[in-house]
Amino acid sequence: MATLTPEAPEAPRSTSGRHPVPPRPAPHPHVVATWAIFIGLLAMCVWSAYDLGINPVTIFERLANGVDFLSRLVPPEFPEPGRLIELTLTTLAIVFLATLFSVVTSVPIAIFAAVNTTTGMVSRQTARIIMIFCRAAPDLVFAIILIRVFGPANGALIGIIAMGLSSIGMVGKLLADNIEDVNRGPSEAIQAAGGARWQWIHSTVIPQILPQIIAHGLHRMDINLRNSVLLGFVGVPGIGAALSTAMNTRQWQLVMGLAIIITVLCIFMELLSGAIRTQLMGRDGSGRRRGILGVIDRIAHNNWVTAPTETHQVQRTRNGAVRTSPQWDAGRIQRFFGWLVLIGLVVAAVWDIQINWQVLTNTVTNFPEVVSRFFPPDGRGLYWDRFFPALVETVQIGFASLLLGLFIALPIGAMAARNVAPTPGIAKFFRIVIVVCRAFPELVLAIILVVILGFNATAGVLALAFGSIGLLSKLVADSLEESDTRVQDAVRASGANRLQTFFAATVRQTAPATIAHILYQLDVNIRAATLLGVLGLGIGFDLLEASTRNRYDILSLIILNILAVVVVLELISMYVRKVVR
């Protein structure tokens, strides 16, 4: 400890030899396992890309050849206005009802799944299994099964339930996490006041997660809007169905037009949900509310809302009764109209999709019989020659597109984060790029690419890689922006420059979140890869074929295979996320 003597503070400390860096302790087995998983996944990505023959040079060559085809996409052609409105309304109604359905069912499931609100081990595990199952099965799978149950007449209903079910997985999971993160103090306070379980859940947990419920709903609505395009290919009405027809009849200009409409709708939805979310999150720095609420606030402030100011007198209404309901200020007006609009939308949407009740009752009675036909699953001798290789190809497409997507998405995500981009203008520009990429339907892109690049996995891989720009860059940008800037401050205060601070503080802070996002993207890509079946790629092709040819046993075998893959992946990423925090 000689170095600590006041007489020799300048003594070169590192030469004292007293403090060599001790050997790094052996890492925890979980950490080793996680690294093994990472390396395994990376190897899988590289092998997939290699095995699928992804070759940047040929891609560029062929893209150059595709210019001729691209010229046939312009000018875009749009359906006549009446038809366009009809299609748009149908799509929006289906998407809205699907989202509402999923949110309403997710809340109780999430309550059972969250450790602080569940009623016991059994209900918790049941809820979690339901969520994992719903997450694992792509909505296309639900739609294919449901079309057998409800018959083709109720395409809209099929779309609603299929998208609703597959949304439960994600929304329920997020809500369960939110419930577990909720401040437990208020719940305890109500328990201490003698409140029973359902009382404190209702009065403290739900109000606390209400903004998240709405935010997740809006977010999921975004996703469902995109997915509805795909469901159009199996008979769910709306823009997706129109796109499918246009594509089959090779009216490429119309395809382009519809793709533009979907893109615009998605951007619109994104803006709308962004706006609603900021409204929910409340006031800006100056304490004034933004947007329309701010206007209402200001009007209210000047005129007709008289908030009592006497702090020790019970508030009374004009006729002398104790006031027990809030004055009509901006907040109450918002809540009131919020509910009114919601109810109005539900009514309008239900009316718009025109459920064929008579057919529905006819078909629902068939339900057990239809379901029984799916069992037992049987590959009819084609499994190893046909379905298994197709499954492998699907998984490969997922991995290869992740690899490709990472190269594109991570830098874009970093540039879109306000606290990383060199100038706010650049951040804004990349934000817009992300929004547009997010909105453009992958499927349309995949079809265009298939034509240009030919019938191989490259087209699918490129399309999915493009899709990850939309999702992954956004998540990465968000988590960068959410990083604790005070830590950056601390590193900066020691004289580190911009780049050093970025890597030492920002990247390291967000690394766990980024890894989680990457795993999530892998999940998304593999599920999306099954949907490329409409183009004849991978296992999804067999899924559709088995469906159109009424091979229920094969259908269920394929579905089980897809579920197995996604669940295994889910378990891996759950494990990794738990270790990497």
Partner: protein, 326 residues
């Protein structure tokens, strides 16, 4: 090749079990030095296909051997993409549905090579049915569907949309307008079911009063799958013969190469030749094992010049369906 497992030893009617040399070297015969050596083949599940998996192995094997090429093979469902690919040169040969062939021929320069037939001298065709519930007394012919809900398959189905439309016009249910089908909704309540079996299912559950579907789905497939019981529906109308699915090649290929392909399909790829050369034993087109080697489970292929498909062009002309536009 010739390792078709189950034949082997007791081949009594032909001695030279599975001998590859029985196929001529057509590349040399035709002097096809300029032929491409790699071909991209796309197969589209055709409407009238029964089996889930179509076995193209033998066909591809024979092509590769006789033409001295390597063939890359892919399956797709979106045949719009297949047509585009043929036009763009990213695909060379394909099997098409009859209708999509017409579009491919008229817009992407595809050429018909041959058509599958189920008997040696049979016409290469099938028909579309109009079915309704057996106990439906109101509908006994196509003319009775006026004002009723009618199920079609989809916009682009040959047997599930185009021929039915033509039939409805013929019967006077729909008027023959300048622009083909006009104001269809005023005369019937059309419903696109999405698939042939969906069309029949919709009839069963009452969504539609009557529905169109091709013959085999009603006669065999749905009964086999348990979706339909015999006698549940009655057939009240049959369409004209619809040409079967042709095997087509890109017009960019050398003519003599297409000719050589035609020779393979017509002269060699049929149950008789396959049995003679030891690929299989039983030539019966209903039950034999040879039929499995012909991609469409038929007897083999027969000549189909482009004009065979004029029937479809005529229907397109009559109906002016959007699907026919290039």
């Amino acid at each position: 090749n010739g390792d078709n497992g189950d034949n082997g030893d007791n081949s009594d009617d032909n001695g030279n079990g599975g001998d590859a040399s029985s196929l001529p070297d057509l590349r040399e015969e035709y002097g096809g030095d300029d032929w491409p050596t790699e071909l991209q083949f796309v197969s589209i599940p055709s409407e009238d296909q029964v089996e889930l998996a179509v076995q193209y192995e033998v066909l591809i094997e024979m092509f590769e051997e006789a033409l001295d090429v390597t063939i890359e093979s892919d399956e797709v469902t979106a045949y719009a993409a297949a047509i585009e690919a043929l036009g763009a040169g990213t695909a060379d040969i394909a099997n098409f549905g009859p209708f999509s062939y017409v579009v491919a021929a008229d817009t992407a320069g595809a050429q018909s090579v041959a058509v599958a037939v189920s008997e040696q001298d049979e016409e290469p065709s099938y028909v579309s049915y109009l079915v309704t519930l057996s106990d439906n007394d109101e509908i006994n012919g196509i003319e009775d569907v006026a004002g009723k809900t009618v199920c079609f398959v989809d916009e682009v189905s040959t047997s599930g949309r185009l021929y039915p439309l033509a039939g409805l016009m013929d019967a006077g249910v729909l008027p023959q307008g300048e622009e083909g089908v006009e104001n269809e909704e005023e005369y019937i309540d059309p419903y696109l079911a999405g698939a042939h079996d969906n069309s029949v299912l919709a009839v069963l559950d009452g969504t539609c009063d009557a529905g169109f579907a091709y013959d085999n789905i009603v006669d065999e497939q749905m009964i086999a799958a348990g979706d339909l019981e015999e006698g549940q529906v009655k057939v009240v109308w049959e369409s004209e013969d619809i040409p079967s699915s042709p095997f087509a090649a890109s017009g960019n290929l050398p003519d003599d190469m297409i000719e050589a392909m035609r020779e393979i399909l017509i002269d060699y790829l049929n149950v008789e030749w396959l049995a003679e050369n030891g690929y299989c034993e039983d030539t019966d087109t209903e039950t034999g094992d040879c039929r499995h080697l012909v991609p469409t489970n038929d007897w083999g292929y027969t000549e189909a010049t482009d004009s065979v498909f004029d029937g479809i062009r005529a229907v397109c002309e009559v109906t002016q369906a959007t699907a026919c536009e290039g």
